[in-house]
């Protein structure tokens, strides 16, 4: 507890708000005692974070979600002035499940913060471990006074709702920030207004219609999540980032450099002078500065030893090298901003020579059929990453690839007791061997989830081609995303690409509707990707044995029907299983 008070004091000193804060919060005796104890605690205490880990809920208040995702990078902290105290309104003093006391008890207005996203509630919250829970984070303002402290916009956007006690602001990318329990008479905005970060919205209060609540801001982040749909996500680490920026927390800012940005890789280093021997993380923001709409943020440990850094920094293991994302190898120029992440508290700092830029030609398209991944839910179920795994190609080149069956909505793995070492992927009524654990790993298939099927059912399915060693996605100018694959060639179903492949000598022959071999060859030297010749392809990027299908030995039609039914049943069971997760 003493450390918590110490942290409060320290934060306020940094912003010159100590006097105000003391007037509003701290009884004199407690303060002097705290300062004394804090001084004794020394530097170690000073390094203690102002927040408890994400997902660490009050014991007995539910199961938290340890989700370190910063869903709103660069977000402005949503209360105008600090300090602020995110913690539970229900399980602390003044709450109906909390210890005796008042909502204004000093321990409610003290560090460390505590997550209460996913705290026990009754209704659906698909991202919470229990599937139900609290949708956001409760935040107490600097003092236990209502209608005094301002709620401000965390991100730019339009005011899309003003309810009896709620204000919603939706950004152009569809992310919505919800601000609840403000005092209606203090509203500073109207429905439809465009707001900027830091703009006043309403005063923090205890308004919940005709049922007052405690004085706090209930803050939600809601956005469209692949695999789920619109969902409330954990706001905790976004709040931490915004608060560090607001309060100027941290010590010396970290530093670093972007040394090289080209098609081989993105190279640089990062170091925190407060912990010079320790490796820290670097943040790379593609498509704009950190927090810009549409920017994609990658975190990588800067821990690669570099000889040149040893003398320069007095410590060697601070380098990083990041591959250029496949989806950005599209011939266009792309900018990358690089930041060093503070070892402890503190906002990330952009490094020297950032931003950099690169322009890389796309690789030729591998041969195969294109199979539509019909929605983000399927991408999520298959754990596919368009950012890292997708080739962006001209629409004509994509259209030239023969189209195969849609990718199933989720991967289903099966094995039979008769051959427990062989794992099969059940794919559109075929069984496809997963020949190597490395391939399963490359596709992020969960072998632990493999189902056991009766041998007669499993082996009655026609055998499809083995899974390719790596997933490769492709997208033209439209939004459709395809996975490149070998044709499945389901018996009894017309599949033009199967006929083409079976009649050809293999993937060396261009697939039907695609460019000729000569075209492919010439396209490889142009910026326009086209089908690559199989000879130039690494293993797994094209079928070497035509269709690649090996049919079961003339399974009877009845057996096929049974197996197909079993597959469908398993598929439904798989979906049920996913629902339960």
């Amino acid at each position: 507890m003493t450390t918590r008070w110490h942290m409060s004091d320290r934060s306020c000193q940094r912003k010159g708000r100590r006097t105000t804060w003391l007037k509003e919060h701290v009884r004199g005796v407690m303060f002097f005692g705290t300062v004394l104890l804090a001084a004794i605690a020394g530097e170690a205490a000073a390094q203690e974070p102002f927040y408890l880990p994400v997902g660490d809920l009050i014991p007995g208040s539910g199961e938290g979600l340890a989700d370190a995702t910063v869903y709103a990078p660069g977000m402005r902290f949503p209360i105008e002035d600090g300090p602020a105290y995110p913690n539970s309104q229900v399980y602390r003093s003044g709450g109906y499940m909390g210890p005796p006391g008042s909502q204004c008890d000093p321990e409610n207005y003290a560090y460390p913060w505590r997550d209460n996203y996913c705290e026990k509630r009754s209704w659906d919250m698909p991202l919470c471990p229990a599937g139900i829970g609290h949708q956001g984070q409760d935040i107490r303002p600097p003092t236990c006074e209502k209608d005094v402290h301002w709620v401000v916009a965390g991100r730019a956007g339009d005011v899309t709702n003003i309810g009896s006690y709620s204000v919603y602001v939706t950004s152009v990318d569809g992310q919505r920030l919800d601000y609840l329990h403000g005092a209606v008479p203090t509203l500073q905005v109207a429905l439809g207004d465009a707001v900027v970060p830091g703009q006043r919205l309403v005063a923090v209060s205890n308004n919940m219609g005709d049922t007052p609540t405690s004085i706090h801001l209930h803050f939600n982040i809601r956005q469209d999540i692949g695999g789920v749909g619109v969902a409330f996500v954990s706001p905790y680490m976004s709040l931490v980032g915004g608060y560090e920026e607001l309060m100027g927390l941290g010590n010396s800012p970290p530093g670093g450099s972007l040394d090289k940005a080209d098609c081989a890789s993105l190279v640089g280093w990062a170091q925190d002078p407060d912990a010079p021997e320790q490796s820290i993380a670097a943040l790379l923001s593609f498509g704009g500065p950190m927090g810009a709409p549409g920017a994609t943020l990658v975190e990588v440990m800067a821990d690669v030893p570099r000889d040149d850094l040893c003398a320069q920094l007095g410590s060697c293991a601070h380098g990083f090298e990041v591959e250029v994302p496949l989806s950005l190898r599209d011939g266009a120029s792309h900018e990358v901003h690089v930041y060093a992440k503070d070892d402890g508290q503190g906002a990330p700092a952009e490094v020297a020579l950032s931003p950099g830029s690169f322009a890389c030609e796309p690789p030729p398209l591998p041969t195969g059929v294109r199979r539509w991944v019909v929605d983000p839910e399927s991408l999520a179920a298959w754990k596919l990453s368009p950012f890292w795994q997708m080739i962006v190609a001209p629409e004509a080149a994509v259209a030239a690839l023969p189209e195969g069956a849609d990718l199933p909505p989720l991967p289903i793995l099966a094995r039979s007791p008769a051959a427990p070492d062989t794992t099969w992927l059940i794919d559109q009524g075929t069984r496809r061997p997963v020949t190597d654990p490395a391939i399963a790993a490359a596709w992020q298939l969960d072998l632990e989830a493999t189902e056991t099927w009766a041998p007669e059912l499993l082996m009655a399915l026609p055998e499809g081609p083995p899974l390719r060693p790596l997933p490769v996605l492709v997208q033209g100018t439209g939004p459709k995303i395809y996975v490149l694959d070998d044709p499945l060639c389901i018996p009894g179903e017309e599949e033009p690409s199967c006929a083409t492949n079976e009649s050809s000598s293999g993937a060396e022959e261009p697939t039907s509707g695609s460019a000729t071999s000569e075209d492919a060859s010439s396209s490889s030297s142009s910026p326009t990707p086209g089908p690559a010749s199989a000879g130039a392809l690494p293993p797994g990027f094209g079928s070497e044995d035509g269709c690649g299908c090996r049919h079961a030995e003339n399974p009877g039609a009845g057996l096929l029907v049974i197996a197909s039914l079993a597959w469908r049943r398993r598929r439904r069971a798989g979906q049920e299983r996913v629902r339960r997760t």
Binding site: V70, G163, S164, D173, T211, G227, A261, L284, V322
Partner: protein, 203 residues
Amino acid sequence: MKSLVLPLALCAALPACDVTAGSEPAAARSTTVAAQTPSRGRLVAGERVERVIAWPDPASRDERTRARLSPAALAAVAASPVPVLAPADPLWRPPQISSPRTPDGPGFGFSLATAAPGRTLTLHGSRLATLLADVGRHEGPERLRGVPGFVSANEGIVTATWIEHGAAYALDLECASTRDPACALPALRAEVEALVLVGGGER
């Protein structure tokens, strides 16, 4: 392993993948890099992917509800990149609708807000999803508009979410009195089922 093999395999095997062509290295940024293959790291806030919208037949638009929309709302509907649904019940005031676009041009959804005595309704449609590395497929346990969905309630506000026409939708109901049956779950379900198509995707 996955992170290393793909680019290396592609670039090593494909003549067209000239890793230096078109590059724009920063001048005088030479450095001594320890032998190390590039890594990927972690996507901090996920990655964005667009949903593919299955546009409903324009003939299925509810013209009576459209007739209640203001010119500004109709313009927002026309510009919406996802099908716009709206409450048909005239008890609700004519809604305010927005479908903002980015400076580069594309838009990713619409928002609708309306009110009736003692309560407000908001509806949001999205075609821009965020993929998160550790979130798989979750189908809602409820049945809303014939598809799986989720129903939630917190702070007295009830919420329903579902995926329809390829877009992700969310509807919120908020009452001035948290005990108002107009914001109970049956009322929420009824509002969701009563939504009608008013248009979208016209420019």
